[in-house]
């Protein structure tokens, strides 16, 4: 009798300890959501974010449930999408600049949900973090390559929208190219879209017809690379390795490496250690990387590698004075580098030497 009682007590304690164990190891998974501006198949910006989401899934396994919403327009639609995600998720990554106001609004209504807004700068409530990468460091590297590789001394630049992120890229690429090639000229075409392969291709053809022999893009599709290949000029990919679309045209691509950041942030939610932060990582932290360097002589590649090492070590800054603004007014004095805020975060001017009219 007593024996049986003991057994049942043992069973019970065993069972409860098992329950406790499973409860500890398999706590409710973190529910994470990603809002994308384009299709994940763009092989550009959204693709890179989606690769990051994949890394979260791979590393956290059952510890995370991920929801991804693609092609969300940057209008009131995005607020609706973010709101409905906020009802069911613990952390939401909104991965485009244009989601800034909707993210801020929804975050105020859902104080228990964590929000992570990419490329923005507004954190009015303590449940919003912002994060971006110093992509202008990548533009600095490809600018140097462009300056060396061009024969016509004309870089064609396909730009999306005049937001600080894009302006920084143009200025950084131009300054770097000019530093190795004083005769460099940059032609900028704004297409006012992130993803319209037809229009991006039209823009690339227009730039090539006007003498550009190097194409840089700040749009998300592989279209400019395919046109460069077809027309026999050189080009840089955007956000992910685009070698496959331009085996003879591709120089390198700036790769956005969001995965480690996403893993850290989702883990922080699981651990309860998440706080509102502002992250702006670059080459040194591994958030900005490069596809293989192709179709260039070794000297150019070595120079690019050296530049990357310098960025890694913090020895160079893409914006180092003396630099004037487009209208000739001084921006940075000799040897001066700009403060992160407001100069870099809100950059809204071209530097001296760029001929194009600033879009405003």
């Amino acid at each position: 009798m007593a024996n049986r009682k003991l057994t049942s007590i043992l069973k019970f304690s065993l069972l409860s300890s098992m329950l406790a164990f499973t409860g500890g190891a398999f706590a409710d998974p973190v529910k994470a959501a990603f809002v994308y501006i384009g299709p994940t198949g763009d092989h550009g910006w959204t693709y890179a974010h989606d690769q990051g989401a994949n890394m979260v899934q791979d590393q956290l396994g059952d510890g995370v449930v991920i929801t991804r919403i693609e092609s969300v327009a940057e209008n009131s639609d995005s607020e609706r999408v973010i709101t409905s995600l906020a009802r069911k998720n613990d952390i939401i990554f909104t991965t485009s600049f244009g989601y800034m106001n909707p993210t801020v609004k929804v975050a105020a209504r859902y104080p228990d949900v964590k929000f992570e807004h990419a490329t923005g700068y507004m954190r009015p409530t303590d449940n919003i973090s912002t994060y971006s990468a110093r992509f202008y460091e990548g533009r600095h590297v490809i600018g140097k390559i462009a300056g060396r590789m061009t024969n016509s001394n004309i870089i064609g630049y396909i730009a999306s929208f005049p937001i600080p992120e894009v302006i920084r890229g143009i200025n950084a690429a131009f300054l770097a190219a000019k530093s190795v090639n004083p005769d460099i000229q940059i032609k900028i075409v704004w297409v006012y879209t992130w993803f319209d392969p037809g229009k991006e291709a039209d823009a690339a053809r227009a730039l090539i017809a006007q003498g550009a022999d190097i194409i840089m893009q700040h749009t998300d599709s592989t279209a400019p690379m395919t046109v460069a290949e077809d027309e026999g000029v050189l080009a840089f990919g955007q956000a992910s390795d685009m070698t496959a679309w331009g085996p003879n045209a591709h120089l390198t691509s700036i790769i956005d490496e969001w995965g480690p950041y996403y893993v850290a942030r989702v883990k922080a939610v699981a651990d309860g250690t998440w706080t509102s932060t502002d992250t702006f990582d670059g080459v040194a932290e591994g958030m900005v990387e490069f596809a293989p360097f192709t179709n260039m002589p070794d000297e150019v590649m070595w120079e690019a590698q050296d530049t990357i090492l310098d960025l890694d070590a913090g020895a160079v800054h893409p914006f180092t004075g003396p630099i004037n603004k487009q209208d000739g007014s001084p921006w940075l004095a000799e040897g001066e580098t700009p403060p992160m805020f407001p100069d870099i975060i809100t950059m809204d001017f071209y530097v001296e030497g760029i001929d194009s009219k600033y879009p405003n």
């Binding site: 092609s71 991006e200 039209d202 227009a206 395919t226 009219k357």
Partner: protein
Amino acid sequence: MNEGLIIAIIIGISIASVPLIFAAIGELLVERSGVLNLGVEGMMIVGALAGFVIEFHTGSSFLAVLAALLAGMAIASIFAFLTQILLTNQVATGLALTLFGLGIAAFIGRGYSEENIQLISAIHIPLLSDFPIVGPLLFSYNPLVYLAFFMVFLVWWFLFKTKQGLTLRAIGDNHDAAHAIGHNVIRYRVLAILFGGAMAGIGGAFLSLVQVPIWGEDMTAGRGWIAIGLVVFSSWQPFKVILGALIFGGITILQLHAQGFDVRISAQYLSMLPYLATIVILVSLRMRDKNKTNRTMPNCLGRIFHSTS
């Protein structure tokens, strides 16, 4: 400006215009038969995907274009069945067709955005294509460019020079009368809708095979809607479709070049221009026609035909 640049601009305009010409000339015939199909965007994107997929797997441009044509017809046949047999509302069905096309193309096409293909090459006629200026301007395009212009001629010839074309126009203007004298309204309209689907499919394939050799979700980016606008712009006259498409494509390309040449106008205004021009032209046409009935618009456009016998 040198002549090389001018030639490049003209070729650029033709590339930007051709998808619109295909889609619009198909829709024009559909509307002439009295049917309004707002699903052009959906049929185009399905054609773009089908063309890309077949080109990728077979490497045959002919099969790719054929597949795009058939895919456009297949999705148009859904519209034909719903609106002509089940007599559903054409506007709602057309909108649904666009959403369905965009969705199913994105779904089927998922893996294909990873892939790339060769562009369909342009023709090269010995002697003619090598002739300076005239060669590149007239004899060095992709075969589909010539096909687009030929299709416009064909639709004009069909509508105005054949008995069947006359019947189709009669059906578009008064389906009850046409029915009363013994014409098969439904059959004409179904065939017109299938033709519209085929043309939209090829227009989409031009995007993914000639303009840029990739597949991307939503890559039609509203061109189907512009094609529908062009039909109105053309006052349902086939050759005016070419004019409208060239104006639209021309402004699109010229504004890109203007930016490259740094014309001192803000880029926002320049990229607004094609759409602005379309609206201005539509409004001015309307003003001109204000005091007379618009004689070219098919009277039965969008109206459901109830067979009474």
